[in-house]
């Protein structure tokens, strides 16, 4: 038996257990951005991409620095950010509270889940004229639109997260005689936090979309107004400056939530 083994080298068992385990590779994401932008730059420089199709990334950068130097950047950015923050805070805090109520009380669930399901698919942008009538053309209607848009996805994410809280932990709380309020605050809410935070990613993306829509309809300053103006003049450089600013806001918000997730959910396995 052993002679045979010596003659023919035994085959090594083939490894087949790899993959399906995402690992963080920070630089890859950045590299994709850089490569894409370089390709567009090269294409526009050589004329392969006509300047009616896409602006030169370098021109976009120049336009951005002009915007920054003229001080107009902050004039557009600050109202936009304050609308975004105030609107989403209203929508998200209402959404989280209603979601928790739905998760905890069967009557609230029976009453509100169909309502939320009916509200969710409505394109909130379609309601903007209505909001303008209700709340006026000024800031309030913009807050309302963003709040309403972030409210429904937050509710759905929150009550789903509350439903997924480990029932044995709640049983444990009851068996130690914890008060109802303590169980909600110390067991249900922290248990649901992971689901709530991942719902926030979606809510905030929706908030940015609605912000632009609201500003396109009636705002003197704001990223949306800036993009609308550039678009109607077919000023591609300025249009892209606006779009890039929105992307960056989205990225920063997402990074912000990621930071909170790492801070608050470090207990996860």
């Amino acid at each position: 038996m052993s002679d045979k083994l010596n003659v023919e080298r035994p085959e090594v068992v083939k490894y087949r257990g790899g993959g399906f385990a995402p690992k963080p590779h920070r630089w890859v994401g950045l590299a994709v951005f850089v490569v894409l932008i370089l390709m567009v730059e090269l294409g526009t420089q050589t004329g392969f991409i006509s300047n009616l199709t896409l602006p030169k990334p370098s021109d976009v950068l120049i336009t951005f620095s002009e915007l920054y130097e003229s001080g107009l950047l902050w004039q557009h950015l600050i109202p936009s950010l304050s609308r975004l923050v105030i609107g989403s805070i209203i929508g998200i805090s209402l959404g989280v509270s209603v979601g928790i109520m739905i998760g905890l009380f069967s009557y609230v669930r029976a009453g509100l889940v169909p309502l939320v399901a009916a509200l969710f698919p409505i394109p909130k942008i379609a309601l903007l004229p209505l909001f303008v009538i209700w709340f006026g053309i000024d800031e309030t209607s913009k807050y309302a639109l963003i709040a309403f848009g972030t409210f429904t996805p937050t509710v759905v994410a929150t009550y789903g997260a509350v439903d997924n809280v480990d029932r044995t932990l709640i049983r444990m709380g009851q068996s130690f005689g914890l008060s109802w309020f303590s169980i909600v605050r110390k067991i249900v809410f922290p248990g649901a936090l992971a689901g709530i935070l991942s719902g926030l990613r979606i809510s905030i993306a929706i908030a940015i979309i609605l912000l632009v829509a609201a500003e396109m309809l009636g705002a003197e300053y704001g990223i949306g107004a800036y993009i609308l103006e550039a678009g109607s003049l077919y000023d591609l450089e300025r249009l892209f400056v606006g779009v890039v600013i929105l992307s960056v806001i989205g990225l920063l918000m997402s990074a912000f939530i990621g930071y909170f997730e790492r801070k608050l959910l470090n207990w996860r396995v």
Binding site: R171, M172, S175, F176, G177, I187, G191, W267, R268
Partner: protein, 255 residues
């Protein structure tokens, strides 16, 4: 404080799961409940702890609840039920906070129960850092922190491997020998039952009735691993249970 079960019956819809169980749990003794799966032993424990209500019959507390007991009926669960976002110390503090015990007073209790369960060095660890056996020790420490009149252990060692189980049996014997406590211990493992039970309640298959009550007089400390007398008792229990378990295994689950 003694606990009396009087005529407990329970059914889910038309399915009778527990029938006419009456029994007394004496203070300072460990009662083990064994029986085939689905015989309602865990349900019975939840009745004793007030987490569920029987269809008829009642659980009575005889005598006054000890004054220093924060939570007279205290559970230890099979799956530990630790809050993963709280440290070992935080998990114990959780059950004290609602009684207004915080700060130095809470720390004193926490340190005391952690040292009794040999966990003193793990106060700031998160549950994810602990092995199964350690997690169950934390759950036992948490139960001790509220000074229970009766400990209700629901298959506490069933999620652990056999070596860890052996270690934890020794720990429980140790704890009891230092300071006897009253406990109801539900298990399907007859070895655990003969090692820890002063009396062993054998339930029949569904609907669960008391088949037999076996008492073992050997002191807990002398019930080492491989004790011949215990082995005899274990075999005897298995003889009683064997056919019940076989029949229970063949039943369709329709609860």
């Amino acid at each position: 404080m003694d606990i009396q079960l009087s005529n407990i019956c329970h059914s889910y819809g038309s399915v009778e799961v527990i029938k006419n169980i009456s029994f007394n749990i004496e203070s300072g003794k460990i009662v083990c409940i064994v029986g085939p799966s689905g015989c309602g032993k865990s349900t019975l424990l939840r009745f004793i702890g007030g987490l569920e209500r029987p269809t008829s019959g009642e659980v009575l507390q005889l005598g006054a609840v000890p004054k220093d007991s924060l939570n007279p009926m205290t559970f230890v669960f099979q799956d530990f039920a630790l809050l993963p976002w709280r440290t070992v110390g935080g998990n114990i503090s959780l059950v004290l906070e609602d009684h207004g015990i915080r700060g130095a007073k809470a720390n004193k209790i926490i340190d005391d129960v952690l040292s009794r369960t040999n966990l003193a060095d793990f106060k700031n660890a998160l549950p994810k850092q602990l092995s199964g056996g350690m997690k169950q020790r934390v759950a036992i420490a948490r139960a001790l922190a509220v000074n229970p009149a009766v400990m209700l252990l629901d298959e506490p060692l069933s999620a652990l491997d056999s070596q860890t189980r052996e270690l934890l049996i020794d720990d429980l014997v140790d704890l009891w020998s230092k300071k006897p406590f009253t406990a109801v211990y539900v298990t399907h493992n007859l070895e655990e039952a003969v090692r820890l039970g002063h009396s062993i309640l054998v339930l029949s298959r569904r609907p669960g009735e008391i088949r037999e009550v076996v008492t073992i007089d050997i002191p807990l400390k002398d019930r080492g691993y491989g004790n011949a007398e215990l082995e005899k008792q274990r075999k005897y229990l298995w003889e009683i249970m064997r056919n019940e378990a076989k029949a229970a295994d063949l039943e369709l689950i329709n609860v």
